[in-house]
């Protein structure tokens, strides 16, 4: 019998500090199954720590993290097995070829040989890496490394995708493929948590968006809900973001630089 979870990710009163720095400040979060959830915030606002908490890589100082029905503190490896993660900087094994790396990760995710071969070939072709899979990763451009990291996150058909700036370095065609793929996966019940600084992407792709600032969640909701919260009807995500995070003094800064 398959258990159906309404929440893919549930955080309760989660806090995490690094020495004097509060990375995550008693956050409550509920990400629904099959949702594309955007995580926005300035640099150092705690987005990456939140993703690491969800993946069980970092233990919270307080609160609980439940992912796909599994307590992160109890079985992080089980969560990793069901999740696909693309870090902000794709640190891959540079000494492997692209194919060796994908083969390695697919094996660790326990993907059968036939499926592995078919899926990897499919993704390599779609993202135009075909013909370069035999090169060592150290010879790849940033975009090619990003594509390799994305394929390795998708290869085991995960139930949860944690993507930190997934489209960085990608050419427009590949970026479009990934965006469409995420939509397709969402329609099949795969949950995606997307951390990005590109607000247009977040606005266009995400069902709901959370804005983080200094470890706290300032606002969560759909675009309409965020507009209402910021009292900016008809505004775009950039205006909402700058209003909520209190960084709307940009005109003054630019003028100072031009002096």
């Amino acid at each position: 019998m398959t258990t159906v979870f309404k929440s893919a990710v549930k955080l309760k009163e989660v806090a995490k500090r690094y020495a004097d720095v509060v990375a995550v400040d008693y956050v409550d979060l509920d990400v629904r199954k099959g949702e594309i959830f955007g995580l926005l915030g300035p640099n150092g606002s705690g987005k990456s720590t939140l993703l690491k908490l969800i993946l069980g890589l970092v233990k919270p100082d307080a609160g609980s993290v439940n992912v796909l029905g599994i307590e992160a503190a109890e079985n992080p490896v089980a969560i990793k097995a069901q999740a696909g993660y693309v870090p902000e900087v794709p640190r891959l094994y540079e000494f492997l070829t692209g194919m060796e790396y994908l083969d390695f990760t697919a094996d660790l995710y326990n993907v059968g040989i036939t499926e592995k071969k078919a899926r990897i070939s499919e993704y390599l072709k779609a993202l135009e890496l075909e013909g370069r899979e035999g090169d060592m990763i150290s010879a790849y451009s940033l975009g090619m490394k990003q594509k390799t990291a994305l394929i390795s996150a998708f290869v085991h058909r995960p139930q949860l995708l944690l993507l930190d700036e997934p489209l960085s370095g990608l050419d427009p065609r590949s970026a479009k493929i990934i965006k469409d793929l995420l939509r397709e996966l969402a329609s099949k019940g795969v949950t995606t948590i997307l951390s990005t600084h590109i607000l247009e992407i977040a606005q266009a792709m995400c069902d709901r968006i959370a804005i983080m600032y200094e470890g706290r969640l300032l606002a969560i909701g759909s675009m309409e809900e965020l507009r209402a919260k910021a009292r900016l009807p008809g505004s775009n995500l950039e205006e909402i973001f700058l209003t909520l995070t209190g960084t709307s003094d940009i005109r003054d800064v630019v003028e100072a630089l031009m002096e």
Partner: protein, 532 residues
């Protein structure tokens, strides 16, 4: 523990050797057969040695001699674990030193479903693969083959087991040291701020001194048999050290003390388990640790004219020279260029040989000077070469001066010889700096992976050979002095010394001018390439 994951991780770790070997980055191909030839060859070599020793033993008819031979072989068996422990520690630690520069690239992908236990076990096993494993296979094959002739199969089986276990002990120890080293040096850097540069300098110096102290210890008359004797007799005295318990188990077994054998064996295995647990705990705590950035200054940004600007260099030239100097003091791999001259002087003192070394510093420093970033500067080729050349010459002269003072104090040469040597050093520094600079620009490699390089290995090799040949040509007028030192010729006259120095200086000037122009041409090509 998922053994499938462990095997996959080991196979990946083995491939990290591509970074150490610096293989071609594109279209990497390797022969799977060749990978195993070394191990097969080691086994065959071990069996051949075993057959040879066994045949010699069988051929001995004198009972007394036969007993003596058997005893010697048994002593070798007992000492083998400690010997293997020692060389495994050295080899695994050397491998870690080799990999130190590429740590970021071999950090485990922490988001994959692997445990720290699997990662640690794979690292410990993979650390032994290569020369260590080949040597171990050779020893094990020899012991196995010899034991058949000696009729000591049980002792041999136990020895082989002990050798495998002791190799794992060594590798687990290295893994613990590796994690601690990364964490502790990071912590020291973080707390020491600007002093981190000095910590790095003295740390590097101490590491090299320790390495050479061990080297001198082993090359100062001790022979292999003596070392074996020391190990075999010494371990019974310090039996309480857990690393020696496998050797003690063999010693007890040979003396038919079965209970002691079992106790030492169990103790050694428990110790191995404890080391593994510690390594796993440390990895899970610090495995993803990244050394913090060194904060050099807390002052507000306040540009002021540098000494180079006051010496007449333009702003871009002075900027590049300042950057070069900072690169020397702050980049780990470049720090060795401060360490090496001191080390060379110390080795010189330690070995008390009278080898001239003056020319080496300029060649080496020139080779690494073209650090990435130079080509980004809005600077003309002529200026680029000028500031690089000036920096190399100034740095090399400073090093030579320091080394010369030590040399003069120790060797106490005649004033003429001292002056001639110093003048020749200056000639070599100036001319070879121009040669190396030209080669450095031509062979510039900005690829940080597999390891940070400033110059391609091929260009470096060609440059070294060119420098050696040209140094020979520049020094050629002084050949009569070499003849006099060897007692083949009479010492040259004072007037010949002046003439020889003048000729040498003329050759050096021609070499400098020619290669300086080449360096400018290469710089123009490089900048044009960067622009496009």
């Amino acid at each position: 523990m998922n053994w499938h994951h462990v095997l996959k991780l080991i196979s990946v770790d083995i491939k990290s050797g591509r970074l150490i070997r610096g293989q071609r980055l594109r279209r990497y191909r390797e022969s799977r057969v060749l990978q195993y030839v070394m191990y097969g060859g080691s086994c065959l070599l071990g069996i051949a040695v075993g057959l040879l020793v066994g045949t010699v033993y069988s051929g001995v008819t004198d009972p007394e001699m036969k007993t003596g031979l058997l005893l010697n072989v048994k002593v070798l068996f007992i000492a083998a674990p400690t010997l293997v422990l020692t060389y495994s520690l050295i080899f695994t630690m050397m491998r870690q030193i080799q990999r130190a520069g590429i740590t970021a690239s071999i950090q485990p992908p922490y988001w994959l479903p692997i445990t720290w236990g699997e990662h640690t076990l794979a690292a410990i096993v993979a650390n032994l693969i290569g020369v260590q494993l080949a040597a171990l296979l050779a020893i094990v094959s020899t012991i196995g083959t010899v034991s058949i002739f000696l009729g000591e199969t049980p002792l041999a089986a136990l020895t082989i087991f002990a050798l495998l276990a002791v190799a794992l002990l060594a590798s687990a120890t290295t893994e613990i040291f590796r994690i601690l080293q990364v964490r502790l040096t990071g912590a020291v850097y973080k707390t020491s701020g600007k002093a981190a540069i000095w910590v790095r300098f003295f740390g590097s110096l101490l590491l090299f001194i320790a390495f050479y102290a061990v080297y001198f210890f082993f090359t100062s008359g001790a022979n292999f048999v003596a070392i074996i004797d020391v190990f075999a007799s010494g371990q019974t005295t310090v039996w309480f050290i857990p690393y020696l318990w496998l050797g003690m188990a063999l010693f007890s077994f040979m003396n038919s003390r079965i209970v002691d054998t079992a106790l030492f064996l169990l103790g050694a295995l428990a110790f191995l388990g404890a080391l593994f647990t510690v390594a796993v705990k440390l990895n899970s705590r610090f495995g993803l640790y990244e050394p913090p950035a060194i904060r050099i200054s807390r002052e507000a940004y306040a540009p002021r004219p540098s000494i180079w600007s006051r010496l007449g260099f333009s702003l871009p030239e002075a900027a590049i020279m300042r950057k070069d100097f900072r690169a020397f003091t702050r980049r780990r791999e470049l720090m060795y260029f401060f360490v090496l001259p001191i080390l060379i002087t110390m080795i010189y003192v330690m070995s008390l040989t009278r080898t001239p070394y003056f020319e080496s510093s300029s060649v080496l420093s020139a080779m690494i000077l073209l650090v990435p970033g130079a080509s980004m500067a809005p600077v003309a080729a002529e200026s680029l070469v000028k500031c690089k050349f000036a920096f190399i010459v100034i740095f090399s002269c400073a090093v030579t001066l320091a080394c010369s003072i030590v040399g003069i104090l120790i060797v106490r040469p005649s004033p003429t010889l001292m002056l001639a040597a110093l003048i020749e050093s200056i000639f070599l520094i100036i001319s070879l700096s121009a040669v190396s600079l030209g080669a450095g620009i031509k062979g510039a490699s900005f690829v940080e992976v597999p390891r940070p390089r400033m110059i391609s290995p091929r260009a470096g090799l060609i440059n070294t050979i060119t420098c050696a040949l040209l140094a020979g040509v520049i020094l050629a007028p002084l050949i009569p002095y070499a003849g006099a030192m060897l007692g083949l010729l009479d010492p040259p006259s004072q007037s010949y010394t002046s003439l020889a120095l003048a000729v040498s200086g003329a050759i050096a000037a021609i070499v400098t001018y020619g290669f300086y122009r080449i360096a400018v041409k290469n710089a123009e090509d490089l900048l044009a390439e960067v622009d496009t």
